[in-house]
């Protein structure tokens, strides 16, 4: 198909490079530099989708971010992305796009029946209708709405693209490269300020690309090109196109999404698809320009009705005619500029101006060109279904209430201009209290809350001369404050045509006997009548009207609809617009890909992975790893066809029978030094610490101030003023912060230093009846006998030339030791243990066997110390000192904590000695009781006892102390299990703790 609507001698596209692309399966041609929208329009395609609610045909309304209709599903390089605006998507070879919100096709759309049912689909229809009958919601309403609605389909495949995050600082951040942005950037850059200039479009220049102005004896575009070229040579300037600053956050942090690769057929190697910039700016210059607003009239959503500025942009930037018989409908001079461009390219437009008489240089030029101008005339309704075929027009009285005789004139597009709305989103997000400016019928930024200034059209200044003057000055002044340079800039002369006052007119009244839909919000199908209903039903706040009617919601966030909606509410309510107020602007200004927000933090990169120094040995020996916080720990070492159950049982049995070795590097370790170290420990732990001798370890329990157990571990006195604390793997960071809190803020008089040494020490736990024999062979020069190194003893040793710390502590309940060496020797230590241990039948054991060993011993861990239990609950009240004070002690007097039937740890064995009890099961008295069945407790940890060869669990049970011997039921609705159980002591194996002391 030829590009029938492409004209010669206009546009900034590269006509030497033709690109082919597909839309709804059909192949078309465009040029490099086109957007999908401009290329489709060049081929005469105006029907692009269906509207959200009524499924009315939709075309193009704008030429940029404001586009409410032209949302497509994009296919690129085997990937698909929904919610792409055709007006923003640059064309590339092989691009494919499809319409959304239509089924089975855009030309024949079943949902369009809603259009004929529209009398039944007024504002709040969904709220009112789908409430009854209740059962219909899941079966009928929701599936139907899901099928009918939507602006595209998210890909279900893994995204192959890469997204990056970047942090940047600058003196001046400039949002938008129109005249004010360029002037501000140039002045600031000349003063040596570090400048970032961001432009959301591919081309720099903003309105200068399409306006007929002269700056310093050059066309506006040439001037812009010159400034950009010079800025690009300056080392203190970063210039980014295709980059949307979409959010203004606290303390001058702005976030920008840079589309690095979306304009290419595929992403280049090593390039990201998008880059998210977090920019901390000293000053922000908002030069985001303005968006033309529509005038509301009958059937104003028909394809072919579009903003007059968009028609001009398609013509001047892309060399595309949006029609050959244009009708321009305006209430200000901007419409004339579009008409003049049409005329210059050999197309005869008709201009309808709602004003009775307006005079200006622009209008004079239009008249001189012989353009047909009808004053005091309006479009009453567009005619045509899938494309504008004609327009009903009429004269209008001066009070804008009475329409004259309606006549029908032929046209193929209607270009509307209802004046300009400053883009104040970023200013408003920054906390700026916006104010209503009567002269332009729109809101502009008011008083700044952060270091920002809004310039040019975004500030409601539509004169180029004034814009340049204020922007050069602002750029100079702001940068001068920072760099203390003051280089004078010659502000260029501007030649622009003066315009006349616009008409405060925004909605054409309905002619008698006609009931045309007059749309306010095009993306959500919100018509004038819908807002009227909402107000009639009592909605007053503009925020409520928005939510009830969906006015200004969805992906375009009402860029073209908000102000007209406010005008309507204020008119009906008989209030002025500022009294009605506007809805809150929230980031993002335009939709941002989830991928860009997530960045590189996907999959394995979503958090760091920590590995012990022995990790490669574990890998080589068939370890199956498990995540323990950010650590990877061996869960079990697989032999042959073993599964988790078999392997962990074998490993645990070998610990009980011979000796095992477990990597305990991940335990948190904190080095504590200072004359008051013992005093600190005494305050932090519940038990007494002042009399711990040098060379001894002690088990300690620490609470939060609310009495809940925070963590447990052993701490060893290495020397007089030097302690080595261990914490659980999960709580290591919290415990360090906890200690720092008390040392820095609560008891600064204590002379103690704490530092994390988790990564400095590699640790191996050697456990089992043969562990002492092994240890003796590892440290032949040390006396590790029961007398030389008793239970809870500590000594330093020489491990084949490597300095080692030896602790006689046990988590498994067996005779056991922990050996620590500096991390770099971790692997050496491990290999020596395995080598020397071979004669004792040593086997490595993983976390699963470790759990089994501690559960059947009744030792508590994270599943019992779960942030809900106190020492008593864990049968650790013996560790709570009655004599001294410590963190959280006062809370233990709370009545709930001292109740007679307080929960307590117990052991649980299934009556059949066969069925494993799922962790998390509830313990109940009667398995047949009606729901909700009163819960007496829960299973915190389960294992297969290797000592007794049957399942064993730990539970936290109400009145656990008096429940030993009781028969209960463990119920797991998740696993659909009901298991009769007996409550036993939590110390299932070696209740007297003789083995550890042997």
């Amino acid at each position: 198909m030829t590009q029938a609507f492409r004209i010669e001698n206009s546009g900034l596209i590269n006509r030497d490079k033709k690109l082919s692309f597909k839309f709804n399966g059909k192949t078309y041609l465009g040029y490099e530099g086109d957007t999908l929208a401009s290329a489709l329009l060049a081929n005469g395609v105006h029907l692009i989708g269906r509207s959200f609610k009524y499924h009315r045909p939709r075309g193009f309304f704008g030429a940029g971010v404001d586009e409410p209709y032209a949302v497509v599903q994009l296919y690129r390089n085997g990937e698909t992305e929904p919610n792409i605006k055709a007006t923003e998507q640059e064309l590339f070879e092989g691009l494919e796009a499809k319409s959304v919100n239509c089924w089975p096709s855009v030309n024949f759309d079943i949902g369009a029946i809603n259009n004929f049912l529209k009398i039944f689909l007024p504002a709040g229809f969904y709220y009112k209708t789908f409430m009854w009958p209740k059962s219909f919601w899941y079966r009928i309403y929701e599936p139907f709405i899901r099928k009918a609605a939507g602006l595209g389909v998210a890909s279900t495949k893994h995204d192959k693209e890469r997204y990056e995050h970047k942090y940047e600082y600058c003196d001046l951040l400039i949002a938008g490269s129109g005249p004010s942005g360029l002037a501000g950037a140039y002045a600031a850059a000349k003063n040596g300020a570090k400048v970032i200039l961001a432009e959301d479009k591919p081309r720099f220049g903003g309105s200068l690309l399409t306006s007929d102005v002269n700056i310093g004896n050059q066309s506006g575009k040439d001037w812009a090109d010159g400034i950009i070229a010079e800025l690009k040579t300056m080392p203190n300037v970063v210039i980014k196109n295709r980059s949307q600053i979409f959010g203004y956050y606290d303390h001058n942090m702005l976030v920008m999404s840079e589309k690095v690769s979306d304009h290419l057929p595929s992403t280049k190697k090593y390039h990201p698809n998008k880059r998210l910039w977090y920019i901390r700016a000293k000053e922000v210059l908002i030069s985001s320009g303005s968006i033309e607003r529509p005038i509301v009239f009958g059937n104003n959503d028909t394809p072919g009705v579009m903003l007059s500025s968009a028609a001009k942009e398609y013509l001047k930037v892309y060399g595309v005619l949006v029609g050959r018989k244009p009708l321009v409908f305006t209430n200000n001079d901007s419409g004339y500029e579009t008409a003049i461009e049409f005329k210059k390219h050999g197309v005869d437009p008709v201009v309808l101006d709602s004003r009775k008489n307006a005079e200006s240089e622009i209008i004079d030029e239009a008249k001189n060109l012989g353009i047909n101008i009808k004053n005091s005339h309006v479009v009453v309704a567009a005619q045509g279904y899938k494309k504008v075929k004609s327009a009903d027009i009429a004269s209008i009285s001066e009070d804008k209430k009475q329409l004259g005789k309606i006549e029908n004139i032929q046209c193929d597009c209607i270009c509307v201009s209802g004046f300009w709305t400053p883009t104040i989103h970023l200013a408003s997000q920054s906390g700026n209290k916006t104010k209503f400016k009567e002269e332009i019928d729109a809101f502009v930024p008011g008083e700044s809350k952060q270091n920002e200034i809004t310039l040019g059209a975004a500030n409601g200044i539509f004169s180029l001369d004034e814009t340049l003057k204020t922007s050069f000055t602002a750029g100079s002044e702001l940068s001068k404050k920072i760099t203390e340079n003051d280089n004078e800039i010659a502000i260029p002369n501007v030649v622009e045509k003066k315009s006349s006052q616009h008409d405060k007119f925004w909605c054409v009244p309905l002619p008698k006997g006609k009931n045309y839909k007059r749309f306010l919000d095009f993306q959500n199908d919100v018509a004038v009548s819908d807002v009227e209903i909402a107000l009639r039903e009592g909605y007053r706040s503009i925020e409520h009207v928005k939510r009830y009617t969906t006015l200004g919601m969805a992906t375009d966030q009402g860029k073209t609809s908000n102000l007209n909606g406010l005008q309507l509410v204020s008119e009906i309510e008989n209030k002025v617009v500022p009294a009605v107020g506007h809805t809150t602007f929230r980031p993002p200004y335009t939709p941002v890909s989830i991928g860009a927000i997530v960045g590189r933090e996907v999959g394995k990169h979503s958090k760091p992975t920590r590995k012990s120094p022995m990790h490669s040995w574990h890998e080589k020996n068939n370890a199956v790893f498990v995540d323990a916080g950010v650590w990877l720990r061996p869960r079990y070492y697989k032999r042959g066809n073993e599964n988790l159950f078999d392997a962990s049982k074998r490993e645990a049995k070998n610990v009980r029978a011979n000796v095992g070795v477990c990597d305990v590097t991940t335990l948190g370790k904190i080095d504590i030094k200072g004359p008051d170290a013992a005093e600190l420990l005494n305050r932090v732990y519940t038990n007494a610490w002042l009399k711990l001798p040098v060379g001894k370890a002690r088990y300690g329990l620490m609470l939060r101030e609310d009495g809940i157990v925070m963590d447990d571990g052993t701490t060893t006195r290495i020397s007089e003023n030097h302690y080595h604390m261990t914490t659980t793997t999960a709580q290591a960071a919290n415990v360090l912060s906890h200690l720092e809190y008390y040392l820095q803020l609560v008891w600064p008089e204590l002379n103690v230093n704490v530092v994390s040494t988790t990564e400095q020490w590699a640790g191996a736990a050697i456990a089992g009846p043969k562990s002492r024999d092994l240890l003796q062979k590892l440290f032949p020069n040390s006396d590790v006998s029961n007398e030389g190194l008793p239970f809870m003893g500590y000594m330093e040793g020489d491990l084949f030339g490597v300095k080692a710390r030896i602790f006689r502590i046990s988590f498994s309940g067996e005779l056991a030791y922990e050996v620590n060496v500096e991390s770099d020797y971790g692997n050496f230590m491990w290999e020596k243990i395995m080598e020397v241990g071979a004669e004792f039948n040593i086997q490595p054991y993983g976390t699963e066997a470790l759990s089994t060993l501690r559960i059947e011993m009744g030792h508590v861990a994270g599943s019992e110390l779960d942030g809900r239990t106190i020492p008593f609950d864990n049968a650790l009240e013996g560790l709570v000192s009655k004599k001294k004070d410590f963190i959280g002690k006062r809370s233990l007097q709370r009545s709930a904590f001292t109740a007679e039937d307080r929960q307590r740890i117990v052991g649980v064995v299934p009556l059949d000695k066969q069925t494993s009890i799922p962790e998390g099961s509830h313990l109940v008295k009667d398995d047949k009781a009606p729901l909700p069945n009163p819960k007496l407790g829960h299973i915190s940890a389960s294992c297969w006892s290797v000592e007794y060869d049957n399942p064993f669990s730990l539970a936290i049970l109400k009145d656990g102390k008096n429940m030993i011997g009781q028969k209960l039921f463990a119920m797991s609705p998740v696993k659909n299990k009901v298991i009769p159980v007996e409550i036993v002591s939590s110390h299932y194996v070696d209740p007297k703790g003789e083995r550890v002391r042997s």
């Binding site: 942090y167 956050y249 606290d250 303390h251 001058n252 942090m253 977090y278 901390r280 906390g431 809350k449 305050r683 101030e705 609310d706 960071a733 912060s737 720092e740 809190y741 820095q744 803020l745 609560v746 600064p748 001294k884 004070d885 006062r890 809370s891």
Partner: protein, 89 residues
């Protein structure tokens, strides 16, 4: 994202810090007789001020010092920051 002036390190982004709650809370002295009400006030009860609020932050990814930050809870404006042992006047 807040921009916090660590009195030890200078201006740093919020993601280097962790929040520590109301800085005006004083822990009752050790070994002192404390009524239920006093203890509840220390452990649980907070004013949750609207406006100027003196609060604790720890520079966990920096110098690891606990600092005091005077911040407006509605606008996020930070007025002053203090070292842990600095008196707030």
């Amino acid at each position: 994202m807040l921009y916090i002036n660590c009195p030890h390190c200078g201006m740093r982004s919020q993601n280097e810090f962790s929040y520590g709650g109301d800085a005006s809370v004083k822990r009752p002295e050790l070994n002192k007789e404390v009524s239920d009400q006093e203890w509840d006030n220390f452990v649980y009860n907070r004013k949750s001020l609207r406006g100027k609020h003196l609060e604790l932050w720890q520079h966990i990814s920096g110098c690891r010092q606990w600092i005091k930050v005077e911040r407006d809870t509605t606008t996020h404006e930070i007025f002053r920051t203090f070292k842990a042992d600095e008196e707030v006047a």
